[in-house]
């Protein structure tokens, strides 16, 4: 059974359709990448899976349970599915360790001392032990995004949604963030990510999906999508990426 099942999902903002019937499955321990132009619906799809947006039609199931529409226990859902954002969204008024420990404390009911201890262990694993007591704005963008990943992991999610997590970073800081994602993939974390880093997508994904104007036009193993794409639109998109020197 797939861990995340997306079944004919529609989403509109007012009269503007953003997702026009998306079907997509993410198996456990799979890494699935969404590619496509800005505005193609990648981020919106991720936000719908996490319950940050309501969908207008179709259904999303996580681990077999319906995770969209009324009656969804979004708080539980979010404990199973973590999310990392393009702009990090660290809480600027808390130290790094408090950022990481907040959800275990407030959601999991873990005592502060224990939660902060666990947070330090996690930070250590991504090489940020010495930044634990800094405020987020004292860190570089790459370090902030690593903290954000650790924060999402602190509640022990079974899957991660990564929304263009390197798009706001200076080029020289991208690698340190991708290294963590690679490590997570190797460790078997189920991940669904939207990205413009095509080389990375090719290397780390089990499946690549090309979204175009709210429609999932093509999906397949990375060798196929990047090697011999079937759809003309996919070819045009990848051609522009190559012209821009990004692949």
């Amino acid at each position: 059974m797939p861990f995340i099942e997306i079944d004919g999902v529609h989403k509109s903002y007012g009269d503007t359709p953003v997702l026009k019937g998306i079907d997509l499955n993410v198996e456990q321990h799979q890494v699935v990448t969404l590619i496509g132009a800005s505005g193609s619906g990648k981020s919106t799809l991720l936000r719908c899976i996490n319950g940050l947006e309501d969908i207008s039609g179709g259904q999303i199931r996580v681990d077999g349970e319906v995770a969209s529409g009324r009656g969804t226990d979004v708080d539980r859902l979010r404990r199973d599915v973590g999310m990392v954002f393009q702009h990090f969204n660290l809480f600027p008024h808390m130290s790094v360790v408090r950022n990481v420990a907040l959800a275990p404390m407030r959601v999991g009911g873990v005592p502060r001392a224990v939660a902060e201890e666990q947070a330090r262990v996690l930070l250590e694993r991504v090489g940020l032990a010495d930044k634990a007591d800094r405020m987020p704005d004292q860190l570089s963008g790459g370090q902030q995004q690593r903290v954000a990943i650790v924060r999402a992991l602190a509640t022990g999610p079974r899957a991660l949604l990564l929304d263009e997590i390197t798009s706001a970073l200076d080029p020289e800081l991208v690698a340190e963030v991708l290294a963590i994602v690679r490590e997570l993939a190797e460790g078997g974390m189920t991940m669904l990510l939207a990205t413009h880093e095509m080389g990375f997508a090719r290397e780390v994904s089990n499946k690549v999906c090309f979204l175009h104007q709210g429609v999932l036009l093509e999906e397949g193993p990375p060798e196929q999508i990047f090697g011999e794409p079937q759809q003309e639109r996919t070819r045009a998109f990848l051609r522009r990426i190559v012209e821009a020197g990004r692949l």
Binding site: R47, N50, G51, L52, V74, D75, R76, R78, R79, G82, M83, F85, H87, N89, L90, F91, P92, H93, L102, A103, R106, V107, D137, A148, R151, A152, T155
Partner: protein, 367 residues
């Protein structure tokens, strides 16, 4: 690219004939004249004050000398401005354009500095004239030393009532304002009635002048014979009225602060599994509070001043106390004392707000 190629290959634009810098000599001349005029006016003012206040010759002379000396220090920049203007013309004639422009710029700055100080001196002198005009009538009406001496201690202790009202009201307003703001932002379909209620309350109480609310509550509640409420003292009526009015303003301050927090903050907190109320409490409000402190203090300063409105319901605050002295002595100096007390407590807070705003802006840039 074909669009830019024309721009890139086109030759350099032909230089226009350079225009000479503006002549600064008239301005410099005005500055010199202004300095001399201000000194002369100081002397005339001093003489007329000595006439009005016999026996204060030494003090008046000393004051006049200080003002005149301050103005005279500006004679140097004024004269320097004249010299610079001449030099500029010379330099331009010899085609030393940068030198000419620099000289003019220096001349203008010097001249404006001198003029600025002269204007300030004129305003001060004008105030002195006003004070001592009409055989000191103005000074005696507003600054009579005897009346101030008699009234000051009782007014100062009555001012304690103003401070008490202000401080208690501020605490209540914080709670009430936040409650209103949250009600106004109650989410979803279920929150709609609450939103409507809060919105109409805020609209209503911001529309009605505070003095009318105070009047209605101060005279109305005792008449209405409401249990408990009607038996409160006028001071508590005032606190109640000001809380109702200012709660509406402060609610809007809180709402603006909460809405100014980036939506990504809530999204991140919610995606971690925090509930709506946990998100508000641990993520949104702590950030919003920091942002609303400056506008909040502004509202509180204006609240402190509005405590003087309670005189309409007969509470003996500083203003009412001073009015008693004013009518007994047929002189307003006691009211001046109240004004001075308000200035005394307000200015430090105003400066504090400025500093907080500056700090918030620095923080905003750093993030």
């Amino acid at each position: 690219m074909t669009v830019g190629s024309d721009l890139l290959t086109a030759g350099p634009a032909r230089p226009k004939a350079a225009a000479p810098p503006r002549n600064a000599l008239p301005l410099a001349g005005t500055a010199v004249a202004a300095v001399l005029a201000a000194v002369a006016l100081t002397a005339v003012t001093a003489l007329s004050v000595m006439d009005a206040v016999p026996g204060a010759g030494v003090a008046v002379t000393a004051g006049a000398v200080i003002v005149a000396a301050a103005v005279l220090t500006q004679l140097r920049p004024a004269l320097r401005a004249v010299r610079s203007s001449r030099k500029a013309a010379e330099a331009w004639a010899q085609d030393r354009r940068a030198d000419a422009r620099r000289a003019v710029s220096e001349a203008r700055e010097d001249a404006w500095t001198a003029l600025g100080w002269c204007l300030t001196a004129l305003v001060v002198l004008g105030a002195v004239w006003f004070l001592f005009a009409n055989d000191r009538a103005v000074q005696r009406t507003f600054f009579d030393r005897d009346v101030i001496g008699i009234s000051i201690s009782e007014i100062a202790s009555a001012f304690g009532t103003n401070l008490f009202i202000a401080v208690v009201a501020q605490v209540l307003i914080l709670v009430w304002g936040l409650a209103l703001a949250l009600a106004r932002m109650a989410p979803g379909r279920a929150g709609r009635p609450l939103r409507l209620l809060a919105t109409s309350y805020i609209d209503g109480f911001r529309a009605v002048p505070a003095i009318i609310i105070i009047y209605l509550i101060g005279f109305g509640l005792p008449l209405a014979k409401v249990p408990f409420l009607s038996s409160l003292s006028p001071v508590w009526f005032a606190i109640l009225a000001l809380t109702l009015t200012y709660g509406a303003y402060v609610a809007e301050v809180f709402r603006a602060g909460i809405e100014s927090i980036a939506p990504g903050q809530s999204a991140a907190a919610r995606s971690l599994g925090l509930s709506q109320s946990s998100t508000l409490r641990h993520v949104v409000l702590p950030q919003a509070t920091r942002r609303v402190v400056p506008p909040l203090l502004n509202d509180f300063i204006s609240l402190q001043k509005d405590t003087a409105l309670v005189n309409v319901i007969g509470t003996i605050d500083a203003f009412n106390q001073s009015k008693i002295f004013a009518s007994n002595h047929f002189n307003l100096s006691s009211v001046t004392v109240v004004a001075a007390l308000f200035i005394l407590i307000t200015i430090p807070q105003a400066r504090l707000v400025d500093r907080l705003v500056a700090r918030e802006q620095r923080r905003g840039k750093g993030a």
